[in-house]
């Protein structure tokens, strides 16, 4: 009895192993079949595989653009290499560019890194501006990717024009106007007016809610709308004298010291939970954030959120596509980058992902998803964001903008907001941090 069981088990194992082996062989066989059929239609040229290095969610795959392009160009294969976090993605790209190997055929560059790329890596990128009609792009977007001697190293993908997303129902309970035009009128021109409305909100705030998600988000929004950030137009660091930084800092300090903030950190899990629980009534939202809000706030927020024009036209985020000179298929890569950033394709990405185009000619035909529009109370999203996009000020950027902004937001402002430090202490802490960042 016992031996027979053992034997039958052995048989089973052998059969299983055999089945597995044949399965694997079959797998190999079918693979090679595919391979030969692919090379069949390449009319002797053979396939070219282009790799596209991106971070986060670019939406090209989601909008079916790669498939579409491969159908148009049967000899091209596209492979996307995605890194989730930008702060992991960019150091990797930098080292690969300088090593002269390992970079993808198309490399995405985030706006926070574009100046560093322009100032230090321009030689490693193809002058992609020669092959395109540069007037397609917003002037300031094009300028960000162009060196002083006129070489354009990247084509603009999306931009992040800002609006204010707010909870109509909470505003009504707090006795504030809920009409988007009226609100936009009320805070027009100055983020401090938007903050002032917060004081009014907090007087009658619905239980468990605050006016805004965080002081840092107000800082970011206000700074994005100023004409001066951390660098002047000659490329000198002037963050501590910059009017833009000063105004944004003051707005953020009012928020941090008057109990109107939910004291969350953006893109933390707790921030996501804040959307779901409805613990704050407004957030400064670039176009790409709409999908995020819908996802995190969930069905219960549907129709309660609305979108109003921001106090000043302000930009947050956006990217570029560049082709490294080390690419073995430069011509094909440039063609693909050109196609992906053309107005028609940018409109397709907007329809899927709400990433806002950097090419104004696309604005007339923009159609957001019906779900998104319904979620935000049928607000005229295209109108609001294109109006903002057209008036965003050109802002000189610098190579260390990112760490400087981080030091102000996540050191200076956070200390005041969450640790009860005085604004002066917060400013000192941020200054010290920035000195360390700049190696001064």
């Amino acid at each position: 009895m016992r031996t027979s069981i053992r034997r039958s088990r052995g048989t089973v194992a052998m059969v299983a192993a055999a089945a597995l082996a044949t399965g694997m062989l079959a797998g190999c066989a079918s693979d090679s079949d595919d391979g030969s059929s692919d090379s069949g239609n390449g009319d002797g040229k053979g396939n070219i595989t282009l790799t596209v290095g991106t971070f986060g969610v670019f939406g090209y795959k989601q909008a079916g653009l790669y498939d579409e392009y491969m159908k148009l160009h049967p000899d091209i294969n596209i492979k996307e290499n995605v890194t989730t976090r930008t702060d992991v993605y960019w150091p990797k790209v930098l080292t690969r560019l300088q090593a002269g190997s390992g970079a993808d055929d198309i490399q995405a560059i985030e706006v926070g890194n574009i100046t560093e790329a322009v100032q230090t890596q321009a030689a490693k990128f193809v002058d992609i501006g020669k092959d395109v009609d540069k007037s397609q792009w917003l002037d300031w977007k094009l300028a960000q990717a162009t060196t002083q001697d006129g070489k354009t190293i990247g084509l603009g993908t999306d931009i992040g024009p800002m609006a204010v997303c707010y909870r109509k129902d909470l505003f009504a309970k707090a006795g504030l106007p809920t009409d988007r035009a009226k609100l936009a009128e009320q805070w027009k021109g100055d983020w401090s007016k938007y903050v002032d409305l917060g004081k009014q909100y907090m007087k009658k705030s619905p239980k468990g809610t605050k006016y805004v998600d965080s002081a840092a988000s107000v800082y970011n929004a206000s700074l994005g709308g100023s004409t001066e950030r951390n660098y002047d137009k000659d490329g000198k660091v002037v963050w501590d004298k910059s009017q833009g930084v000063k105004d944004a800092w003051d707005d953020a300090m009012t928020v941090a010291t008057s109990n109107m903030s939910a004291k969350l950190k953006q893109f933390d899990p707790t921030w996501d939970k804040g959307f779901a629980n409805g613990s704050f009534a407004t957030v400064a939202c670039p176009a790409w954030m709409l999908g995020y809000i819908g996802e995190k706030a969930g069905d219960s927020g549907k129709g309660k959120w609305d979108v109003a024009a921001a106090p000043t036209a302000s930009n947050w985020g956006g990217s570029f596509l560049g082709v490294p000179t080390e690419s073995k298929h430069q011509k094909e890569a440039v063609a693909l980058a050109k196609w992906l950033t053309a107005p028609e394709q940018q409109a397709k990405v907007f329809a899927k992902q709400a990433s806002f185009p950097s090419t104004p000619s696309a604005y007339a035909g923009l159609k957001p998803q019906a779900d998104t529009t319904a979620y935000f109370s049928d607000a005229p999203l295209t109108q609001i964001f294109s109006d903002a996009a057209k008036t965003i000020p050109a802002q000189p950027l610098g190579p260390k903008d990112k760490p400087i902004d981080t030091a102000i937001s996540d050191i200076g402002i956070l200390q005041v907001e969450q640790k009860g430090k005085s604004p002066a202490q917060g400013w000192d802490a941020a200054s010290k941090e920035i000195k360390d960042v700049l190696g001064q």
């Binding site: 930098l94 560093e116 004291k263 893109f267 899990p269 707790t270 981080t406 996540d410 969450q418 010290k432």
Partner: protein, 343 residues
């Protein structure tokens, strides 16, 4: 004395095995070779005996050299230069400036202090809890395998998953820890931004992940203790507690020292937990760097700020710190042994 014996025995047996390879015996016999000039075959044998062991260990050392030693030495070079991530080819000699910069930097001393305090509040409770758990599991229990597997699960969980859950548990607004504290009338603690709270929270993740692992090591060592030691102790009238203190603990001494050394090295390199606990811009380790460890500081300098020269200097300073700790450990061990021999 007993503990030394326990250590010495397996060590000596391990030495004999590779010491006399099978080929040596055969080679020595010189099978079929005439006297005088050795045949090509015996020469081959002899060559085999001498070279094979080296050939076997070569792959490891080649890989070690390429991926560890060369980069390691390269960081020495980097640490003496001004190297920016965006301009790797433009290195300018700065001598010890990076190190001097560190010594005069508040951020560095803060990180060193944090590494030390988080190391202490995570390692000490962790090892004590592990010892206690191992002691409990050493008794005859129902379903002992199940308990052991359960103990090892935190270790098998990824740092990212564990930290994410802990971040939610410790969240200020609606986190479970604050919710429980509220029943004891404690005001909500801002776990991420408070000085001690954040260090405690980070330590708790480390403790959760590593206690089971250490407990299993202790358990294995406990089960290797001969039963007759306990029997004779019992005959002498020692109760379980006394047996634990006078039989188990002395027998475990080498194991305990091993876990202390390993945990200390782990604590010096602590990185993943505080990074992920900090969430966005986690490399800062809180708004006042209240839980920025040396590992985080190095990463922040190197990859976020892009100052690779300074980051390399931090790496070597960390190495130095570890050497100092190892030396202290060694001295402590010697001192313990000597006092043991005397007692």
């Amino acid at each position: 004395m007993t503990s030394k014996e326990a250590l010495a025995h397996p060590a000596s047996s391990a030495e004999t095995a590779p010491g006399i390879p099978p080929g040596a015996v055969r080679g020595a016999r010189g099978r079929g070779a005439p006297d005088g000039a050795p045949s090509w075959r015996s020469r081959l044998y002899r060559w085999d005996t001498k070279a094979s062991p080296y050939a076997f260990v070569t792959p490891f050392f080649v890989l070690f050299g390429v991926f560890t030693l060369v980069p390691l030495l390269y960081t020495v070079w980097y640490s003496l230069h001004d190297v920016q991530l965006s301009a790797l080819d433009h290195q300018s000699w700065t001598g010890l400036a990076n190190y001097k910069n560190l010594l005069s930097s508040d951020f560095f001393w803060n990180a060193l202090r944090n590494t030390f305090t988080i190391g202490v509040i995570s390692t000490v409770p962790q090892l004590m809890a592990a010892l206690w758990l191992a002691h409990m599991l050493n008794y005859k229990l129902r379903g002992s395998t199940v308990w052991r597997v359960v103990m090892l699960t935190p270790y098998a969980t990824s740092v990212a998953a564990a930290t994410l859950v802990f971040t939610l548990l410790y969240s200020w607004d609606g986190g479970m820890v604050n919710w429980i504290l509220h029943f004891f009338g404690v005001d909500p603690v801002n776990w991420r931004e408070s000085d001690w709270g954040s260090q405690f929270a980070v330590s708790s993740i480390v403790i959760w992940r590593w206690t089971g692992y250490n407990a299993l090591i202790y358990l294995a060592a406990m089960q290797a203790i001969p039963a007759d030691l306990y029997e004779s102790a019992a005959l002498d009238g020692a109760n379980r507690r006394q047996q634990f203190w006078h039989v188990t603990i002395p027998q475990l001494r080498p194991t305990v020292l091993f876990t202390i050394v390993v945990s200390t090295i782990g604590a010096t390199q602590l990185f993943g937990e505080p990074l992920l606990f900090g969430g966005v811009s986690g490399t800062k380790g809180g708004s006042e760097h209240q839980y920025q460890t040396l590992g985080l500081y190095m990463y922040d300098q190197g990859w976020i700020i892009g100052n690779l020269g300074k980051a390399s200097a931090i790496a070597w300073t960390m190495f130095l710190v570890m050497l100092i700790i190892a030396a202290v450990n060694l001295l402590l061990t010697r001192w313990l042994r000597r006092s043991d021999d005397r007692g």
